[in-house]
Symmetry: C2
Subunit: 297 residues, 2 copies
Amino acid sequence: MAEVLKTYLKDRCKVVDKALNGFLPETRIRPVTVHEAMRYSIFAGGKRLRPILSLAAAEACGGDTENTLAPAAAVECIHTYSLIHDDLPCMDDDDLRRGQPTSHIKYGEGVAVLAGDALLTIAFEILAQTPPTKRYDVGAYVSELATASGSRHLIGGQILDLEGEGSDIQLTPTQLKYIHESKTAALLTSSIRLGGMSANATPQRLEALTSYGKSLGLAFQIIDDILDVTQTSEKLGKSAGKDEATDKSTYPALFGLEKSRKEAARLTKKAHDALKLFGKQGQRLHEILDYLLDRDY
Amino acid sequence: MAEVLKTYLKDRCKVVDKALNGFLPETRIRPVTVHEAMRYSIFAGGKRLRPILSLAAAEACGGDTENTLAPAAAVECIHTYSLIHDDLPCMDDDDLRRGQPTSHIKYGEGVAVLAGDALLTIAFEILAQTPPTKRYDVGAYVSELATASGSRHLIGGQILDLEGEGSDIQLTPTQLKYIHESKTAALLTSSIRLGGMSANATPQRLEALTSYGKSLGLAFQIIDDILDVTQTSEKLGKSAGKDEATDKSTYPALFGLEKSRKEAARLTKKAHDALKLFGKQGQRLHEILDYLLDRDY
């Protein structure tokens, strides 16, 4: 990775962490348990990809970082809640996440359910603090995030994932693409769109960001699938090969590794192309894409 | 109950049901399972107390029902999600709700968690459709509902409830009051406030509605506690005496039945008093209070 991007990501990560720290209730506020559990999962070493994409999209539209802190923090809260609930015994039943005990292992299932609920709820409380622009008001921000994380997209993907698990029926490519679009691409796209919206993006630019986000999101999920097959638990910080072990359909399972790698590369190119109208302002978004593709898959 | 109020409640119930039916995705929309589960719990025979209070509060402020349908539906979605998650095996572990199998009994735990998440999420999607007024914008509506249903209030109360369950330590009256305020009064108060806000309530009227809501909410919870001790499962449609069996602290357990009844009556009077500045426009809110107190406790 280019040194300049490395510095950028590190710096943006700090900006996001500081914002999250400011938005989340302190642990001394009662009930202490829920606030501890919320912070435990939020500060568990995530890469902050979604909020960084919000900030980079806002920059590409000439926006001020300050105005994008709220949507950036909000999308990270949504992402983290979905991981907490996804890890529950009644869902994926994962004990480890980023090498650390998952929320229900650390705090018990009841608290984990409620900590997830609380992060989902506070996401909207935080989002409502985003300054409106000429083109977008708080209603537009809230509709955007609620749709992307609702029953037709993020949650919808998890339902299909849950229904497919342990089932002997192989998913069709169309079904798998639908799950990936819902589970991963929808929130990534929304993170990027919210960044653009908070920077008063023109409809044309918002459209371009949407196309960039969708291609990036699909590529990102395919790469995750590939890494799950090719890497060890130690390196990933979660149980590798788990998807395969539970008969979950993945890109490599359906198409083989080589074809999956090519598809990830094709989508990445498509995402680059979508950025054309940003010219030099889109530089950072190009770099982030390359960084994502350069993950060792 | 007066015949006129009976007709009013029945009519408002229909208005709320119609709005909910319009706001929730149809079951033919995929993934079908999550939309079925959302509708199963939403249309499981709830009394619609919270949305009716939103509508009545808006009427008291001279508002139009049409402008309050979104917040009314939103608070019912929040209430229903909290019941679904509260009934989970890792929480209260209830098999029956209003005489029907709870969501996780009907659909399995994973789907129940996700259906709850989806109702929580759509609440904000719906709320964002509330028309802004001169005094309140969508940001104000979203902050209001997110705060009331967040970690410091609704979810906070459930955490404390969960922590208290099975514990030998008797709660203090202050702790119990805090749980009741968080678990029940916060969302009831917010339902009433959102009704007022959607009708452009003056700050003074919003303050009065808040006071009315808090007293009503506490009285309502105390009466629920009393009914749980005095009534049978059949009549309540849930497992009566359950709170006592699991050592959960309740008003009757701490203060005895007689004192609990007096406290409910005192709070109800306080709520009536808060309505003074509405004059005749507050008539419906007075009637609803009487109706709540008139429950056979």
